[in-house]
């Protein structure tokens, strides 16, 4: 059986839609259910719902064979996975934001759910910063003066606007990626291929 790791939310809905469209159905699946594992009707696959940041971990350690995850999460992860396709949905940007530009007369403090991406970005630009790791509501950090700026994903920009925050730099763009465990891809190729093609809308990779 092939295990597919999904992060509950828009990426999972879209991924599930594609599986169902190609005939891999999950009649037991109920969006409102608190169940975390659902088997496909033909018992050839199962979907597991995990936190977005945990999708690369489950896939790289081989607990899940396939996963759908944002590029932003992949950049933050150190797990080894094969990134087979850009699924072209869930588009967003990873940006440096704040109430005002970062101070230049002292070491700026940055709050982020993406400490590794932030560190790489500021190191590459020769800017010495202190990074505080937050798990959520990162926009609060500059408002409550916990940090001078934040590194976070921006989709519509509405949350930032409502909190009077501005985007100063776009670090990178992100969208949903189809990932696979390198070992599973080799040794379960026959079983994995139809699932990959289903998620990637019929395109083989």
């Amino acid at each position: 059986m092939i295990t597919i790791a999904l992060a509950k939310g828009r990426l999972a809905t879209k991924g599930l839609e594609r599986l169902i469209q190609s005939g891999i159905t999950f009649s037991e699946y109920d969006e409102k259910s608190r169940k975390l594992i659902f088997e496909s009707d033909d018992k050839q696959a199962r979907i597991v719902f995990v936190k977005a940041m945990d999708v690369p971990t489950y896939v790289s350690l081989g607990i899940a064979d396939v996963g759908i995850v944002g590029k932003d999460v992949l950049l933050e992860s150190d797990g080894v996975v094969n990134e087979l396709a850009d699924l072209k949905f869930g588009a967003c940007r990873l940006c440096v934001c704040g109430l005002k530009p970062l101070p230049t007369d002292r070491k700026p403090i940055i709050a982020s759910k993406y400490p590794r991406v932030s560190e790489r970005y500021f190191n590459a630009h020769g800017i010495d910063v202190d990074i505080i790791k937050l798990e959520g509501s990162v926009e609060l950090a500059p408002l409550l003066q916990l940090a001078d700026g934040i590194v976070d994903i921006v989709e519509s920009g509405l949350t930032l606007k409502e909190n009077n925050l501005n985007v100063y730099t776009t670090i990178t763009t992100s969208s949903a990626r189809l990932i696979v465990n390198p070992r599973s891809y080799k040794i379960k190729l026959k079983a994995i291929q139809p699932i990959i093609e289903a998620i990637n809308q019929g395109e083989s990779v």
């Binding site: 081989g62 150190d78 094969n82 696979v180 040794i187 379960k188």
Partner: protein
Amino acid sequence: MTQRQPLAQGMSIKGKEIYSKEDALIYTTLKCFDSYGYDVIEPPSIEYYDVMKSSGKEAQQNMIKFIDPFGDIMVLQADPTMSLAHYMSKQSETSLRKFAMVSSVHRAYTLQSKRHEHFKQVGIEVFYDQGNFDEEVCELALKALELAQIKDVVIELGHVMFMPSLLQTLRVPSVLIEQILPLIQAKDMPLLEASMIDLPLQVQKIIKKAMTWFGPVENVVDKIKSEMNDPLLLGIVDELNQLSNYLKQLNPKINLILDFTTQKSLSYYQGLTITAYSPQSAQPLLSGGRYEYKEEESSLSMTAIGFGLNVALCAKLSTIQPTKMSTIAIITTPEKKLQALFKANEYRTLGNRVHVLFDEDEVKTTDYDQMIVIDKEQA
């Protein structure tokens, strides 16, 4: 039974089931290698950093380095192949040498594990200047895995020169080849597609197709032969196909795959690679390959091939039945201690695991098969 306090992070109790399997695995594989004429050696556990330099940048980053009292940079053994290759490069004549070894390999921690990693591996290295030892080494890899008795093993053969040769045949500029190869290794399709944007469409199409050149032997060989007619590339395909046929003759039940997208897991690999996987493990059970070793300051180079098998991982997945051992507790008093110790030795020579205890409460902390009390009354 009451629970003992857990051990500190990084320590684990290696129960009799595990260590007896590990010992059995090491003993049987070394015995097997010995029967093929391999000299069993023990590589150094601490090595000069200079010796490890040929391992490549990535491997060097994961080495645990320190400075010894004489000011030399040392590393905890990270790749016994390098120690052996360095030794061989200092010999005045390069002739056939076959080594078998058990060694501990140490690597610096990853963010995920947050602990330095070390594991025991048993393996072989053959240094030669005449002929080819691919069949013998792959045969021994197969035998080692058979001795480990692991279910559902998949053996993958690859060739690290296939993809670079394909890209050269397609006249991809060498700067771009350097960029593309790591992306092929990571099977990072979005970045690969972006990197190839300036190449002719036909070339892009072939490279994308080549990314699927892995899987069961017949499928892959047929796929490549229907697409390519370059003699160099077809030569590599035939080489792996012939080796696969030989291994299938040795064990018709073998689950064998070929991967022509394989890249160098270690920078010195130059040709054939062999890796064994199990669906129960994220780590390979065994990995190895053929390489050309060249000392930085010397013109001497030599060819070698070898592999290492991860002992703990294979023992964990092995279906070998460990030797049955009963655990006996002998409860005694300080006055009757010697009598109890003699009794314990009697039981141990019969193959049992025996604890001599002075406190009856201790018995509650472990699961004993039998309890014997030697106290004043009995004496």
